[in-house]
């Protein structure tokens, strides 16, 4: 199968997130031979006999006409009909060692997922941008113009302040009363333990929670020309570090950090995807959706 993948740097040259999203989604769908049934949609699972008190809207009237019995249609994903993306807009997301920084990459990712959900599946989609507080909230909806509202909110999302999952997370509970899919897009520069502790409550409410871990290549393999003074983009703290350290110890610590986060996430029943910003977005998206379909 021949595929084409879109370089994030190419996407950065496209003005308008909607167009970016369309390019990405159309791109990877066009790479498939048959029409896909990926998505967050409700899929038919079985018929159930009508019981008094059931919602009459779910009665299959065609079956009733043929058999004079009332059956209700059951759907596989009937509880995942809402997509909410929690987008980290802290200062650390500004970091980028090549054409696209993490914030841009996260925007493209969110825009593509919104496009797929709304245009492809007619699902409700919403957005929460946060750093150490909740900066913006777009309620999940399937109303006309929802995609534009989401795109506008993504456009306005500016990286600032520092990440603090614990503080805004309690508000997430208030916004996410309806069960659905919750995607958290962040670089997760906190201890895996505190991240999981902050996010876990979302899972308890029956949401399908997935962590998109967006990292720049230099977050994993920093390049230093000799001993250098490093500045934390969020705290502005400075630290003198040697190349020897970044070549060995730091890489080991990053690997350990990623492994720890992945394990803890999966142990908590949540999904985890690591996305490097030098990786084509449609390829990453395709991988995620393929894995999700397999899981369902």
């Amino acid at each position: 199968m021949q595929q084409r993948f879109l370089n994030p740097s190419v996407l950065a040259g496209i003005s308008g997130l909607e167009l970016v999203a369309k390019t990405v989604v159309d791109g990877f769908i066009a790479g498939l031979h048959r029409s896909p049934d990926f998505g967050f949609s409700q899929e038919f699972a079985e018929y159930r006999a009508y019981n008094p008190g059931d919602d009459l809207r779910h009665v299959d009237w065609n079956v009733y006409a043929r058999t004079e019995r009332m059956y209700l249609k059951r759907y596989r994903g009937e509880t995942n009909s809402s997509l909410t993306i929690l987008l980290d807009a802290s200062n650390s997301m500004q970091f980028g060692s090549h054409g696209v920084n993490k914030m841009d990459y996260a925007r493209f990712l969110a825009a593509s997922l919104f496009y797929l959900a709304i245009h492809g599946q007619r699902d409700a989609a919403g957005l929460i941008t946060f750093d150490d507080e909740i900066r913006n909230y777009v309620r999940p909806s399937t109303r006309q113009g929802q995609l534009h509202r989401l795109m506008a909110a993504l456009d306005q999302a500016e990286a600032r302040a520092r990440t603090d999952f614990a503080k805004p997370m309690r508000y997430f509970q208030e916004f996410l009363k309806r069960r659905g899919i919750v995607l958290i897009v962040s670089d997760f520069w906190e201890s895996p333990e505190s991240i999981i502790r902050s996010i876990e409550p979302l899972r308890y409410r029956g949401n399908e929670v997935v962590l998109f871990h967006v990292l720049d290549p230099e977050d994993v393999r920093p390049k230093l020309n000799g001993p250098s003074m490093l500045v934390d983009l969020e705290t502005k703290a400075e630290l003198e570090v040697t190349p020897d350290y970044t070549k060995k110890e730091y890489r080991e610590k990053v690997e350990a950090h990623l492994a720890d986060l992945r394990n803890r996430t999966r142990a908590a029943g949540m999904g985890y995807y690591l996305l490097m910003t030098d990786r084509p977005l449609d390829e990453a998206l395709r991988e995620y959706l393929t894995l999700r379909e397999g899981r369902n």
């Binding site: 650390s92 997301m93 970091f95 993490k102 670089d187 520069w189 906190e190 720049d216 230099e218 977050d219 920093p222 390049k223 230093l224 020309n225 000799g226 001993p227 250098s228 003074m229 490093l230 500045v231 934390d232 983009l233 969020e234 705290t235 703290a237 400075e238 630290l239 003198e240 570090v241 040697t242 190349p243 020897d244 350290y245 970044t246 070549k247 110890e249 730091y250 610590k253 990053v254 950090h257």
Partner: protein, 688 residues
């Protein structure tokens, strides 16, 4: 220790640059942003220590490199005493073999003194040189005593004229190349005439210590034949009597009677006695010199019996040959041109040419090649047969003098010469009724000896277009109104000289002017190609082996003719390649040189030493002390042979520059800096 150019030390201020780059600029590195420092740990302690160590080593090397470079430019020196420097000192033994060293036992004494000095030097590095008119090294710098002694013994008496200025120049050049102190021992008669014109010419470098070894201490009386005035050539068997005039000089001599003899080919032909005043000169005149055809070796000798018998004779060579024929073609009835030209030739050129004058009607049956040159004087018509014959004569190497006169005014161009006639200039109509010479080429033989033709009045001339390009005529003399008066043009291998006026005393008064005779004489010699033969020269003079015609032919690509030189000893000093290409030859020995020149002519010259060498006066001690330099005159003038070793040299401090060692250190520092810096950069690349 010190520096010879201290102002270069001001460049030490430049050390601030690496200090700034290493110590100040290093602290202004731009911090690198990262997403989070969560997983980073400080490693400042180890890294800073390594970096500082590395930087300090690099900084030290760079500072060292700069300091050494500046020091090298400042030319550092150390004061080394003579004893310490003796180990690498070059002992240069110079033995004077100029002509004056032939007096008595001077040369032998000088060589003995040199061998004695050599024996006292042990295994020192030494070099032997002979000094006549120039310094001639007999050995390389060696320590082999036997070879050095043999070189001293091999020095033969020369005939050159010494000049201590030339010696100093050669020693200065040597000092520039050897870089070590030089102990110069000069073994000479310290003849006063060998002093250079100015004392600065004899200045020696700082690292040269001179020890003079005078083989004589006071002047010796000497008589000599200072000069002989005799013609080099005699023409024909009926030539006029030839006078020989000799000057007898005495240097430091009392008044005395000297017997002077004229010797021709070894046979005394005349003897006279002359009274030479004290320390003065006397002239002897021999009224008649009879020499046979061919070359004769002649001498004027005196019976001096003095210290230098070698200068008691003066040689000269005389050649007797038949005069050459010249042809003058004139108009019928023109008697003036033959008269004036013939009189000038017979008056000036010692009957070297016999002029045959014919009118144009008789010229048809003459063969031009029988004549050394041909003069065409103001011809109304030139028969085409004659014109063709003359053109061919010129092309094959003949020479022609054309006096245009008034007859050419009716033509459009000058025959044979080929120049276009623009107009005629009749100056009798101008206010002064004549035109004088405006400009002339003083290097041209016919003009040089005539002094530029001052006061000659020209009443008539042709305005000629000399042309352009390679075939253009060379304008030698112009009138005041820029009209060309005398032109020369090369046609084939010959040449044509054109006078745009006449030779008849009508169109000008040139024939009556004193400049006319030298003009005709020099033009005749020039056109006939006969340079002066025979005569006498001085040792070290240069002799032209090829005249201007042959040089021009060689430049044009023609194959050069070989010359042949035979020296007084009968040897041929020129190699085959030199014989084919040499333009000049230096006469290095006294005696008779025989030559066969490129044009095939034979020549012979008598070569005599420079008469200045006959003056055996010595340089005063104070002048010698001044030349040797300050402070050591009392001991360094070893007047007696063998007492040459300087006694107080151990107290002498001589600055010895060691800038080239510093430059070696600069190179080493640069290499080390490059290696360290590239290792450092290599580490950085690896880190990337």
């Amino acid at each position: 220790m010190g520096v010879l150019a201290p102002w270069f030390l001001a460049a030490l201020a430049g050390l601030a640059l690496p200090l700034y780059l290493h110590l100040l600029k290093r602290q202004t590195t731009t911090p690198k942003p990262v997403s989070s420092l969560m997983l980073f740990e400080s490693r400042t302690q180890a890294s800073t220590r390594h970096r500082r160590l590395r930087y300090f080593l690099l900084l030290s090397l760079r500072l060292l490199w700069l300091v050494l470079l500046i020091l090298a430019f400042a030319n550092p020196f150390i004061n080394r005493n003579a004893a310490a420097a003796a180990s690498n000192r070059l002992v240069l033994l110079v033995v004077d073999n100029s002509f004056s060293m032939r007096a008595g036992t001077r040369l032998a004494d000088a060589k003995d003194a040199a061998i004695t000095v050599l024996a006292g030097k042990g295994a020192a590095r030494a070099q032997v040189a002979a000094f006549g008119s120039q310094l001639r090294f007999m050995t390389q710098v060696i320590t082999d005593q036997s070879a050095l002694r043999a070189a001293v013994q091999a020095i033969q008496a020369g005939d050159g004229h010494g000049n201590f200025g030339e010696l100093a120049r050669a020693v200065r050049a040597l000092a520039d190349s050897v870089h070590t102190p030089i102990e110069l021992h000069l073994f000479s008669d310290m003849q006063r005439p060998q002093l250079a014109a100015t004392f600065s010419d004899m200045a020696l470098p700082a690292n040269v210590t001179m020890v003079t070894h005078a083989v004589v201490t006071k002047a010796q009386p000497n008589w000599t034949v200072e000069s002989v005035d005799a013609p080099g050539q005699v023409w024909g068997k009926d030539a006029k009597p030839v006078h020989v005039q000799a000057v007898i000089a005495g240097y430091g001599t009392p008044a005395a009677q000297r017997t002077v003899s004229l010797v021709v080919n070894g046979k005394t032909t005349a003897t006279k006695t002359v009274a030479v005043p004290a320390n003065g000169r006397a002239t002897v005149d021999f009224p008649s010199l009879e020499v046979p055809y061919g070359f004769s070796r002649c001498e004027v000798k005196i019976d001096a019996a003095d210290a230098l018998p070698a200068d008691d004779l003066r040689r000269f060579a005389v050649a007797r040959s038949d005069p050459q024929k010249a042809l003058l073609v004139h108009n019928y009835g023109d008697n003036r041109s033959p008269l004036y030209v013939g009189a000038a030739l017979s008056a000036a050129a010692q009957s070297a040419f016999t002029l045959e004058s014919i009118n144009v009607n008789e010229a048809a049956d003459r063969r031009p090649s029988n004549y050394a040159f041909i003069v065409l004087s103001d011809l109304n018509t030139l028969p085409s047969l004659l014109e063709n014959a003359l053109t061919e004569y010129v092309r094959s190497g003949g020479s022609l003098l054309i006096a245009a006169g008034t007859s050419a005014g009716g033509r459009s161009q000058i025959p044979i010469f080929g120049a276009h006639i623009i107009e005629t200039r009749d100056y009798t109509r101008v206010p002064d009724h004549y035109m004088a010479v405006g400009s002339s080429d003083s290097s041209y033989p016919a003009v040089a000896k005539a002094g530029g033709w001052p006061g000659v009045k020209f009443f008539y001339a042709l305005d000629i277009d000399p042309g352009v390009g390679p075939s253009a005529a060379r304008v030698i003399v112009r009138l005041a109104d820029q009209t060309p008066l005398l032109l020369e043009k090369r046609i084939g291998e010959g040449r044509v000289v054109l006078l745009t006026s006449g030779l008849d005393n009508l169109t000008n008064d040139f024939p009556l002017n004193p400049a006319f005779v030298p003009f005709i004489e020099q033009t005749a010699r020039y056109l006939a190609g006969s340079e002066r033969q025979g005569g006498a020269r001085l040792v070290d003079a240069f002799l032209d082996l090829r005249n201007s015609n042959e040089q021009a032919r060689e430049h044009a690509g023609a194959q050069s003719q070989a010359v042949e030189v035979t020296d007084p000893e009968g040897k041929r000093p020129l190699t085959l390649s030199e014989a084919a290409s040499a333009q000049t030859f230096q006469l290095v020995e006294a005696g008779y040189y025989q030559l066969r020149l490129a044009n095939g002519r034979q020549d012979e010259v008598g070569v005599n030493p420079d008469p200045k060498e006959s003056n055996l006066d010595v340089i005063p001690d104070d002048v010698l002390a001044l030349w040797r330099g300050k402070g050591n005159e009392s001991t360094q003038n070893a007047s007696a042979p063998g007492a040459a070793t300087p006694q107080n040299t151990s107290q002498n401090k001589t600055p010895q520059s060691f800038w080239w060692y510093v430059m070696l250190l600069v190179l080493a520092a640069a290499v080390a800096e490059s290696a360290l810096a590239s290792r450092y950069l290599g580490t950085q690349r690896e880190e990337e």
